[in-house]
């Protein structure tokens, strides 16, 4: 089984090639190719350009109309979300998406849903509580009683429970106070330190750029930029028009 406790070695590349998709008859993503680079791959773009949609093709929520998605040599085109999770790809949805009526502990349990090995489960839970000590006191509390920042920790911790080595994060900092924004980005970095690869959607472009190892800009469902942050700084028009920099 892949995706089981082998995070230290470099995870496989998640690659989406020639993706076309949309909702109903309305095509939103037009032939886009992106992949998970080492470290953090940022995905920027105007509102409604299709960032979340693209991410949802990677985690299986939105079926693709055309193109292929591969993870290493495993073909994940139109695989079900639960199969994708089992391969080692976890998602932190827009807004965190904690299960508000469940306790923190139960949120983690749902995160570890695919882990049948009790020992592995316990070990991973330890790791999460190590990473987010603030959660220890809150395990029995309902998740919706937590502050926004704590909820983001739950969401990240829950994603870690799946045992993933590739993380898809959709605007983890949105709506958080400046202190928590910092915390959130720190958490993302911590994932990378553990050897994971991250695809990160952000509107907080300045802060995200500081972490980025690779940048994609999606405009109206098409890739307007694909390169390193350094290369991006040469594209002043892109920076200004789409990133407000």
């Amino acid at each position: 089984m892949s995706g089981q406790q082998q995070t230290r070695s470099d995870p496989p590349v998640l690659r989406a090639e020639g993706i076309v998709t949309g909702y109903g008859d309305h095509e939103v993503i037009h032939d886009v190719t992106i992949q998970s680079h080492e470290g953090i791959t940022c995905l920027f773009g105007p509102n409604g350009s299709g960032k979340s949609t693209l991410l949802k093709t990677l985690n299986g929520i939105v079926p693709i109309w055309d193109g292929t998605i591969t993870y290493g040599d495993v073909d994940l085109s139109n695989a079900k979300p639960d199969e994708i999770v089992k391969e080692g790809i976890a998602t932190v949805p827009q807004g965190g998406g904690v299960f508000g009526t469940l306790t923190v502990e139960e949120n983690l349990r749902v995160g570890g849903f695919t882990v049948s090995d009790q020992d592995a489960y316990a070990r991973r839970r330890e790791e999460v509580l190590d990473a987010f000590p603030a959660l220890e006191d809150k395990l029995g509390d309902r998740a919706d009683s937590l502050s926004g920042g704590q909820q983001m920790m739950v969401s990240l911790g829950r994603a870690m429970m799946t045992g993933a080595d590739t993380f898809l994060l959709d605007e983890p900092s949105a709506g958080l106070s400046p202190a928590l924004v910092e915390d959130a980005f720190e958490l993302v970095e911590r994932l990378v330190d553990r050897g994971a690869r991250v695809i990160l959607i952000e509107q907080n472009v300045k802060a995200a750029l500081r972490l980025a190892d690779h940048v994609n800009i999606l405009v109206a469902g098409e890739l307007a930029f694909d390169g390193s942050p350094d290369e991006l700084s040469d594209e002043s028009e892109l920076m200004e028009v789409y990133l407000g920099l």
């Binding site: 105007p46 509102n47 409604g48 350009s49 502050s147 949105a174 106070s177 400046p178 910092e182 990133l243």
Partner: protein, 243 residues
């Protein structure tokens, strides 16, 4: 001497054991842009909900243009001149953008259609006026929220995180609109987490922490205040204000 438009006196709101707004006394002058900041869960949205009649305060009074509006129903407060937007964009999904605008209870003597068109053009969303509101992107929804409240033509507008989740380029445009409206005389209260945004636009900032109104002052005063740095900005030891 500027004129006080909106004033709260000892405003308190509790949810069971939790005091979400604790004795908040605060006043906003006509023509001002007031920023409201504070950590997540400090009671900012609750404060707006109390001001606009969605929550009945457990204590204290709200005065608007000299009228005591405490305990009024939301629509009456809105008609009195206090408009607002919501933290989570709340378009009327099953209507077109224009119908969203026309639904607003406008003052009697205005031509609603003309006014709606003007505002949509002003906000640069007139090209999608007859599309369904449900198909709009996040940023456009925020603009529509602003547009609707402009239909009301209130003296004071409360904005709950107008730029959160909005692409920076678009956020800049929203700010430009706000400044323009402010020049025309509209008073604003803005909840905002983005210090960059705040710095550009506000006259004064009020800080809430654990339901209390702890500090008020100019942006520079507030952002260097120790209590604020500790409670909110989170890096009292840093030199730079994190952005």
């Amino acid at each position: 001497m500027s004129e006080t438009l909106l004033q709260t006196d000892g405003l308190t709101k509790t949810f069971g054991a939790l005091t979400a707004n604790d004795d908040i006394t605060l006043s906003v002058d006509r023509g001002e842009i007031r920023g409201i900041i504070g950590p997540n869960g400090s009671g900012k949205t609750t404060f707006f909900n109390s001001l606009t009649g969605f929550y009945t305060p457990d204590g204290g009074t709200i005065t608007f243009e000299g009228t005591d509006i405490t305990g009024w129903e939301p629509h009456k407060i809105a008609r009195q001149g206090v408009g607002r937007t919501f933290q989570i964009a709340a378009p009327f999904e099953n209507m077109t953008v224009r119908q969203n605008m026309l639904a607003v209870q406008t003052p009697k003597d205005v031509d609603e259609h003309e006014r709606a068109q003007e505002i949509l053009e002003f906000l640069e969303i007139d090209h999608i006026a007859d599309d369904d509101a449900s198909g709009m992107s996040g940023g456009q929804k925020k603009l529509l929220g602003l547009g609707r409240v402009l239909m009301l033509d209130p003296a004071c507008i409360l904005l709950d995180e107008p730029t959160a989740g909005v692409n920076p380029a678009l956020a800049d445009r929203i700010l430009d609109h706000l400044r323009e409206l402010n020049d025309q005389g509209t008073t604003f209260m803005i909840i905002e987490h983005d210090m960059d945004v705040l710095k550009q636009i506000v006259d004064t900032v009020s800080v809430l922490d654990q339901g209390k109104h702890i500090v008020q002052g100019t942006f520079d005063e507030v952002s260097t205040d120790d209590r604020v740095r500790e409670a909110y900005l989170g890096s009292a030891d840093d030199e730079e204000v994190p952005i």
